[in-house]
Symmetry: none
Subunit: 219 residues, 4 copies
DNA sequence: AATGAATGAGCCTTCATTCAT
DNA sequence: GATGAATGAAGGCTCATTCAT
């Protein structure tokens, strides 16, 4: 038997909202793809916006779980960071999992609606805490001073960049250059760049020949 | 006498597009706010999309010039980088100029339309080249290998983060904490973080007491 | 209870289209006269053109049946022709049935759209075949050579003339003269003219005094 | 030097109106094709309808002349009739002369506007008189009784049929059959059909083999 | 005399939503 | 509880027309 209609509606709508934005998607299309009645959205969620926040909530409830899975205690902090970064990047590039969860969040963060603060508390802050914990392993000290925030932002920023600005990156580097930016390459770069910035690794070298030849030497 | 109607249309529309996105804004509203006729958009710009790209072009033409002003040749490369970063950040926070210029571009980059490649070529690429030149001063070598791109992206990413995710940052740090993130503080952090990452400066230290007390020691 | 809304829409639209043409009629006006919502046209017929072809189909389905009713096998061929001609003329003058059915078809024939070929096949060709059959009774021979077509056209042409050019005829003959053109008079004239043309009756004589006095001697 | 703007406007507009109908043609298109200003129509003709009636008048003034050119007095009446029929048909099929004059008239006759009665008096009635004169040569007698009118209508009707219903004829006969309907063939048929109908020629025979082989034996 | 920039009414269509079933 | 037919508001756009020049 097919899934619950409400669930189906949320999943279809989430995907479309993530893909094309709130305004560009019509309820007709959503209901049709979910094999539901046109009135189903209004019946189950009050109105279109109600469905949107339902998607947001669903996305956050799903994501929190697998982004925060505890890493082995004996893993080196640098390796934990790499996992964290890779985990965030993965959802965008991994075609096997629905990417709209993160997509939707990013959209919400870029231009916050009423539901934004909720998202931040339930989704973003846990992630930030997770990252803070990792950094605590790298640079023990006071946990939440401004400096810590900013370092965290610098790391997250790099991840988000590849997430959000993919098309611009493609245009800048050309299709061929862009193709070489595998998940591994990006993960490796951000990790090394960030570790070096906080004095926990060797600096990144533009002229490092190993980079071009064997992008992921630390895998 | 009031401004040229075409200009007024672009300014009003740009603001609204930047604020709410292309689809969420109607030409009727634009024309009303610009005290213009409903048909004015179609008359002057062909159609709504035409007005949109006109906004995009206007935004880009305003921005490009002042971001690329040549820096003194004798300025240290590290200082040039700081200026570059500060320049980008400034445009967001400077209240004397309409902020929709950047808003609109960010929107376009996040969900590129046909006009995106043009923006990239005319606005983004020159900026990238400007940054590459600075980096050439810091780390002489091949100019455009992949490593170079990624380092550039890591720097830009941090700047964009504070542009795009301002509301999230405020929510995470709380209003008080957020207030301390002056333009100087952010500039300083990104510059130091990036220089350290490429081995051109001391690592960033979360526990550095000087940071909290006197954020911008290099000013 | 009032008629089905779809029917009402077709009837109102058909009348207006027949009266003023496709382009000169707006959906607003149609819906208003049919006491329906503005969106009703698009909901029920897809778009305005959809309503138009619906009108066309309705018109054709109403007409086809009663024009083709089989005539008694023992009726003389000449009499069959008279019935055929009278049948065609009747539909124009019969006040009990909406005259827009024919109006619309004539319009379509004069300036054919995509739907024209359909009308021709479903409405015109059966009529042509019906006429051909009658002529086969008058002049046995090959059924569909070019000559046959042209004779048929000459007959139909006369009927259509009185349909289409009624106002011109009135102006030319004056109101009084026009009044004497009863259905019987016209039927009689066309029948006699056509029969004479193919050698199946006495020639028409402009000076025949019986005509003026007792127009329909064969009634 | 180029023609007068007013003339150019009338000619371009007449052609377009004749081709696509009044409503389907915009003043923009007219002015553009006439290399005139958008406001020229309103300036010279008051409004769009003013231009339309100007076209009508122009058409009538042109047509009257060459349709009524006096035929040689010694020409047999039957031959005069053939010339008359051919003259009317010609304007449609002859590509060297602008066909919109007649086109426009037919349009006006089919659905008369305010200008119709004027057209009838200035254009149609002279034509009718011309035809009546020819018929007087064929069947001397009272000039304007009803019978005369109807015979005239029967002749005109056939001509108009091929004029107006060209597309339907094409669909009915198929493209190949239609191609054989040259100007000569049609002229010949109508002439023979009409002469036979009034007892001034041999009847038309569907099975006449000469027709198929040599369509215009009387040429 | 003639222009062309600018107008506002109107066009068809699509939208999210509602209501009787 | 759930539907789908039907709604009215709003969408972007084109139109014939006008007015200052």
């Amino acid at each position: 038997m097919q899934e619950d209609i409400k669930t189906r509606l949320v999943e279809v709508a989430g995907e479309l909202f993530g893909e094309r934005g709130y305004e560009a998607v019509g309820v007709r299309e959503i209901c049709q793809q979910a094999t539901a009645n046109v009135a189903a959205v209004n019946y189950h969620f009050g109105d279109k916006r109600g469905l949107y926040v339902a998607c947001l909530r669903h996305a956050q409830s799903c994501r929190v779980d697998d982004l925060l899975l505890p890493l082995p205690a004996d893993m080196p902090a640098a390796e934990k960071l790499r996992h964290f970064i890779r985990g965030m990047l993965e959802s965008k590039l991994d075609p096997t999992r629905p990417q709209w969860h993160l997509e939707l969040m990013l959209r919400e963060m870029g231009r916050p609606t009423d539901a934004c603060s909720e998202i931040v508390e339930d989704y973003i802050r846990p992630m930030a805490e997770s990252l803070a914990e990792i950094m605590q392993g790298l640079l023990p000290g006071d946990q939440w001073n401004r400096q810590t925030w900013m370092i965290g932002f610098s790391i997250i920023a790099q991840v988000l960049f590849y997430h959000v600005n993919q098309p611009v990156v493609r245009l800048l580097m050309g299709p061929d250059g862009f193709e070489t930016l595998s998940l591994d390459v990006i993960t490796d770069h951000i990790t090394r760049f960030s570790l070096a910035a906080i004095g926990q690794g060797p600096p990144v070298d533009r002229n490092d020949p190993s980079d071009v030849a064997a992008p992921q030497s630390h895998k």
